[in-house]
Subunit: 390 residues, 2 copies
């Protein structure tokens, strides 16, 4: 187990009516002028946004709005938000939505008090030293951004999709999680969210650090819970209990608990980020394609962790060979993704002839010549992994 | 899954040399006048206390000391500490030790800013509304107090041993966890600590709340990790990796993550508190006696959770009947405790003829006529559970 520092100060309010605590929680962090960030039609259609704004009105909290955040959020919306916040002297941000909305709000939060261009943080040219406080009303269990200090933004100029990770500043002060708000998610979004949260666990599970039994067991437990609850939410979208288990799993998958004491991987995410930057696919669907491809490569070069996953999580009990066990685990994982209606190949993702050389080039341009935590990968390796997804 | 609010703001610094961050972390929470609370000889003999005090000196942090905290800590030491803090205008507490030391420091932290008697909080007559900030250098993985908002204190007048639970105020601001500091623990203390942390999980696992798959799986994962690492630390006390896994498990067992979304139980703890209050036994050893007794009772009246535990954690795969599976799981749990050198009966605990009527009387006097979360117990039931431990 490696040395680590771990702090998750986010206050979670979970369950029926959680969103009704919005004004109360904003007041508890001394919010007086709030910008509410949201995405497209669903929070308008459902009346959620109106209900939240009404709470703010009733509490006498000044607010302005930034709507229209798109999936795979980009820098222009962040810049627009920073400008409004400065003009309106906003002291607190409230994200009402899923990962794209929260990540945009985080980027704005970091950008407002910073003299330079907010992208400096994502480009690695500066470190976040302060940020506006942020609250979240979560509507999509997937990205785990409600409990993380991370934010993924795409720079339109060059389509660079980059994840920024902070230990403290970008962690939300509070996150309100009502599973009922996820009842109306389209099935493909529910499924993509499930792939995303599983990926957040896999990226930490595929670690070169030895002797991390406690973190492994927590990760395996979360994976088993997700795989048990997922079919229930797919077949009955208003199954509150299954939705609740999935929602809380999504938060725990990414609040850092599965990464304590070890080096993480994140290759599947990096490789998917290039796909969604270039082809605009849904992140979780892209992950359902890249995860098995990544694991298949690893089954041959470093099979230990994949074999452990197969045996402890995927129910592969009768295969003594590590590579064979890992491959059987991957087969079952693909079957599971397929059962949720997720793609597991480029073709199923709607990309007939992916420009793999371009993806490899951008990947290593953004992340360096050698990438990976579990196993170090060259451009030749990552090309092979992309090809395993054909 | 029940509605819940969950917030664990404690900053954990874990690994080699973690205690070297003491002054730095104290400064980061603006400490200027610190009282250092500790127990008996081990922190003196090992030089740990001297090293910590030297850091404070070097950082120019004023400090005074309160040593001599005993296991099963009592109110006089708390009162002494409160008096010193007020006289010395202490603004921050630092606990260097295990659960008894931390719990004493927490009680002092709550008592200093309170006008009435600190015991009011434990007696349920008042609610903690403020407290001095507290940092921890942990030396015993067991009580989990370094990550919890709880504190167990015994009132000498009547020997009332009571656990106070707060959501926020008594959670440490930081906890420094270096597994090397646990290398020199006597084997019986290591073993008792393992029983204690497992109990913290069981008390949350035995829940009447349905549909808590995610929390169940996390709890089961932690139990499996502890049971895998425990024999290693017993046979090789300086096995850093095993000590690290046990130490972090002890924190996660009690920082609340295993209780999210459900009603908890705590009967085994309450029943053990009466034993250690009357007979002065080690808390963890008392738990190793009471847990199997409690589970044996439940195997007959509410076997579902015990059967799930047996099947998922204890490896009982071939027993379709819930009661029989639960009983086989308990047999294996007792074998496990015995293998660590722990007692599983009153007799092995050194109590030949326990005064069971007295224990039952004090239990219900302190906790009410009906107790329990998993299953409601009358005095006749708790008497039977105590007898199952004979």
């Amino acid at each position: 187990m490696d040395n680590f520092t771990y702090c998750t100060p986010t206050k979670y309010i979970f369950g029926h009516g959680a969103e009704n605590h919005t004004a109360e929680e904003l007041l508890s962090i001394s919010a007086t002028r709030v910008m509410v960030v949201y995405g497209g039609g669903s929070v308008l259609r459902s009346g959620l946004l109106a209900r939240v704004l009404l709470q703010l009105d009733d509490a006498g909290i000044y607010h302005c709005e930034l709507g229209g955040v798109q999936p795979n959020p980009t820098d222009p919306k962040v810049r627009e938000g920073i400008e409004i916040c400065r003009r309106e002297q906003i002291d607190t941000l409230l994200a009402v939505g899923g990962g794209s909305v929260i990540d945009t709000a985080k980027a704005i939060a970091a950008g407002v008090p910073y003299d330079g261009d907010f992208w400096d943080f994502w480009a690695g040219k500066a470190t976040v030293q302060s940020a506006l406080p942020l609250g979240v009303v979560l509507t999509i269990p997937a990205a785990g951004s409600e409990g993380s200090g991370n934010s993924v933004i795409t720079l339109l100029d060059g389509m660079h999709k980059i994840s920024l990770r902070t230990d403290f500043w970008l962690r939300p002060k509070f996150a309100l999680l009502n599973p009922e708000l996820t009842f109306t998610l389209p099935p493909e979004q529910t499924a993509a969210g499930i792939a995303d949260m599983m990926a957040h666990i896999f990226e930490r599970y595929f670690s070169p650090t030895a002797d991390v039994e406690v973190t492994d067991r927590v990760a395996e437990g979360l994976l088993m819970a997700i795989m048990e609850e997922a079919p229930k939410v797919m077949s009955n979208p208003t199954d509150y209990q299954a939705r609740a288990n999935i929602m809380w799993s999504g938060t725990l998958a990414h609040n850092g608990i599965c990464g304590t004491g070890r080096r993480e991987d994140w290759v599947s995410h990096f490789m998917e980020h290039e796909i969604s930057a270039v082809y605009g696919v849904t992140h979780g669907a892209g992950l359902a394609v890249m995860l098995p491809a990544f694991m298949s490569f690893m089954a041959h070069v470093a099979p230990a962790k994949g074999a452990q996953l197969a045996r402890r999580v995927m129910g592969v009990t009768d295969e003594p060979d590590d590579t064979a066990a890992a491959l059987e685990g991957i087969r079952r994982l693909k079957d599971f993704f397929t059962s949720l209606g997720l793609p597991v190949t480029f073709n199923q993702l709607g990309i007939d002839k992916p420009n793999i050389p371009l993806l490899v080039q951008k990947l290593h341009e953004n992340k360096g010549e050698r990438i990976g935590g579990y196993f170090t990968l060259t451009p030749a390796d990552t090309e092979q992994i992309y090809r395993l997804a054909l």
